[in-house]
Amino acid sequence: MSSSPPEPSVIVDRLRTAREHAGLSQGQVAKLLDMHRPTISEIEAGRRRLTAEELVRFSDLYGVGLDWLTGKASDRIDLADIRVAMVARDLNKLKEKDLERVLNFIASVQGERK
């Protein structure tokens, strides 16, 4: 877990990562959130500030935790983390690249709003 305040670039990076992991293009996000396509582009380029309400909408759409999206939570969950201890028992059998992807995924959805 990071204790320092998140840099805007962290949010920008995670917004883009979360969108790609959700399987969406910028155009699809714009349509789903009833926003203009250039607005999504501006947000992901770090040229437009997000409101708290918009952050929540992105978090819900992408299915990721708000803490993760804002950079308060790490982008990789630790195998020793108690919340995934049951999973970790078998995760060590995955190939390294897949394990990394799965741990990144778990980190992103922890604390997701339902």
Partner: protein
């Protein structure tokens, strides 16, 4: 679970649709060594490898739903060789496999599949078995094994004879050119569920067709069949006349992301 999701025992069940309907999120990841995973926290979620054939994906999803149903602890199912999910070696895995087969292939639905095709399982052709497997959303080999061992609908000898046919070879002669994607057999008994394809797949549909939507295009016509190819994500409608029609849903090739977005149409200004 079929009852809870509103799926009749005579109908095929899409475990991904059922999961979404009962509040379980489903994700696709391009992970070769991970077959599937179930996570309890922060709320129930299923991860599936995007790199498997649809029948395999459906079975794995149903299997993970079984873990959810029985409240098993989260765990990973590792990729293995052919038919790994039928070789359960723990009680949880056994339960989840039993759940998956019951969800996807209840005896009533399997028998209904044969009745609607005026076929008798005891002498049905490989193509009829293939059409029923695709309608149920399972693999051909899985259905043959299940009809033989679990449902006792066919003899060992018939199962052996059916298993000598490879699914792609069964309909190979019906294709204009070899297909690199999956080939889905859709007959006029196909009812009550959408035809699921990914970009590049081909559907061999009985008879002549009209279709709406831009996700498929006409590839080839013969006197008996119409071949349609999935060309872009989205949904469409096939109309064969005489009261037969079906919805078709196309996802991107090896789609990675939330399952609820898998059939979204691409936007003209898509950037990724």
């Amino acid at each position: 679970m079929r009852y809870r999701a509103g799926v009749a025992l005579t109908d095929p069940a899409s475990p991904i649709d059922i999961a979404e309907r009962i509040g379980v999120s489903v994700w696709f990841l391009r992970t070769p060594s991970m077959e599937g995973m179930f996570l309890q926290t922060p709320h129930p979620q299923i991860l599936l490898s995007a790199l498997r054939p649809l029948g395999r994906i459906n079975f794995t999803c149903a299997h993970e739903l079984g873990h959810h149903w029985f409240k098993h602890v989260a765990h990973v199912d590792l990729n293995a060789d052919e038919e790994p999910l039928l070789l359960a070696n723990t009680e949880d895995e056994f339960q989840a496999n039993a759940f998956a087969t019951s969800l996807l292939m209840p005896k009533t639905a399997v028998q209904h599949g044969f009745v609607k095709r005026t076929a008798n399982p005891a002498n049905a052709s490989p193509r009829q078995f293939l059409a029923i497997a695709h309608w149920l959303g399972v693999g051909y080999t899985t259905l043959v094994h299940y009809a033989n061992i679990n449902l006792s609908l066919i003899s060992d000898a018939q199962a052996s004879a059916l298993l000598r046919h490879k699914p792609k070879k069964i309909v190979e002669h019906e294709l204009d050119t070899p297909s690199t994607g999956a080939v889905v057999v859709v007959d006029r008994a196909w009812r009550t569920r959408a035809i699921d394809m990914q970009v590049g797949d081909v559907a061999i549909v009985d008879g002549q067709l009209e279709f709406s939507g831009e996700c498929v295009h006409l590839r080839h016509k013969t006197a008996k069949h119409t071949l349609v190819q999935a060309i872009r994500p989205g949904t469409g409608h096939l109309d064969g006349g005489a009261g037969w029609s079906a919805y078709v849903r196309v996802r991107p090739f090896q789609f990675e992301g939330r399952s609820i977005f898998r059939h979204l149409e691409e936007e003209a200004d898509a950037d990724s």
